[in-house]
Symmetry: C2
Subunit: 274 residues, 2 copies
């Protein structure tokens, strides 16, 4: 099977699965977020070994699962206390390992929990919270999250497509040698286009200001998320976060923009509708 064929096959099953579970919300959406988070977090920890850093993979993933479960159950107090106890336990047990890069090991473990399950936890939260906040709009949570997904995918496509055609000035050679400024701008324009359509069709009740804000944030932060993830990979000296998604690379590669935009979606939403 060619790379392109593999890529299309994965997307053929993956995209409907993601969209269906996002629509259904509840524990369906939780399940798919948990899977993405766990695999991406595992990949993030795994590539660190190239730099002789040995994060606490299993405890890190367990704490990430605890965090996401706590968000889904809205058990803020209990989850906060359990996570705190978990962090303390992590620090105490680090002394019993044979690894010597203590601060780096612990630090990268914490970073993995903040970067992936905590950021995705924001998405999990916003999916049900928006339903509560906009009872007058049917499927409000689904509409917002779907808008975010579509915007990021269109941004990606525009950046890649226009980048290939008209890209001339490198965006950030050190981090990502193939990206261009022209592609980046095209991506942001693509994002704004999607938000324009979402507003004009009334899919979401946004003012012009809000539509532009979401478009810019999704487009810019989404691409920054891609760059940050590329920077982590360069740091570790790897090309893909893993080979788990045939034709796509790793889970983290595929969802890096969604992961990074999730907290931005939460922040923007809470800012516009406090």
């Amino acid at each position: 099977m060619t790379e392109l064929a593999k890529r299309i096959s994965v997307a053929f099953f993956g995209i409907p699965l993601l969209l269906a579970t996002t629509y259904l919300g509840g524990w369906y959406f939780f399940a798919v977020i948990l899977i993405i988070s766990t695999v991406a977090q595992w990949e993030f920890y795994h590539i660190q070994k190239e730099k002789s850093i040995f994060p606490r993979t299993l405890p890190g993933i367990m704490l990430g699962t605890l965090l996401l479960t706590g968000v889904q159950l809205k058990a803020w107090s209990l989850t906060g206390l359990l996570l705190t106890a978990g962090i303390m336990l992590l620090m105490i047990t680090e002394m019993f390992r044979r690894q010597t890069a203590v601060s780096a090991n612990l630090g990268v473990t914490m970073l993995g929990i903040l970067y992936i399950p905590f950021f995705l936890g924001c998405l999990l939260y916003i999916r049900y919270f928006l339903d509560i906040m906009f009872p007058q709009i049917p499927d409000a949570g689904f509409r917002f999250v779907l808008t975010m997904f579509v915007t990021i995918w269109i941004c990606d496509t525009f950046a890649y497509g226009f980048g290939r055609k008209i890209g001339r000035h490198k965006l950030y050679q050190k981090v990502s040698p193939n990206k261009t400024i022209e592609g980046g701008i095209a991506g942001v324009i693509g994002s704004l286009l999607v938000l324009f359509i979402v507003k004009e069709t009334g899919i979401l009740p946004l003012t012009w200001f809000q539509a532009i804000a979401f478009g810019l944030v999704f487009g810019v932060i989404g691409q920054l998320g891609d760059l940050v993830e590329s920077w982590f990979k360069r740091d570790a000296g790897v090309k893909d976060s893993s080979a788990i998604l045939p034709g796509h690379g790793g889970m983290l590669d595929r969802f890096d923009s969604i992961i990074f935009v999730s907290p931005a979606l939460l922040i923007l939403t809470r800012t516009f509708w406090p």
Copy 2:
């Protein structure tokens, strides 16, 4: 001035200052916690350079300050959103630095925020929260926090004193060559003694079970906090976290047990009185 004289001078001014601000609570207590947190966090970041790790010291301390201020103002939502934005900004700007240990730098920066201002934030919170939770006990917050301080200091003293006299079996050579199991047990016994006195004199309305629990937790977790901090220092190859407190070493050296017990105090309190 001899080392002992310096040590006594610092304690002569430091202990009353700490106790007075703890008693007064409010912004006085906040100020002293902020100072301890900032200096200790700075020290934690500073010793990492010995391992060629370059954490984001200023942003890390700023986020720590934001966290503590948010706890004091009880502005949970706003602080959470600002901290999240801060973490995203930290990750984005890491790409523009010339350092190459990206994950380690970011990870250790996050670790510093969790270990010190977040843990001390638990202490800040419990100081005013206990006043609210026990309105029938005058100065409830002060009494609990004072009990914690005194227990840790007595535990320290017993562990050191009895350790010197009857200490024979090493506790954990790799981490802290001078500590002994006998000293450790003496420390826990000292902690239990303090809690016994606190219960019997009615300073705090504790059952026997609660008194023993607090005694064990303060004694064990306090000593583990000391070991964890020693392990960080060994990892960095330094003897003291800094020379900022004449005769005592660094701020982190001085407050490592208090820092580590703070979240434990919060967890135990929320467990006994949910």
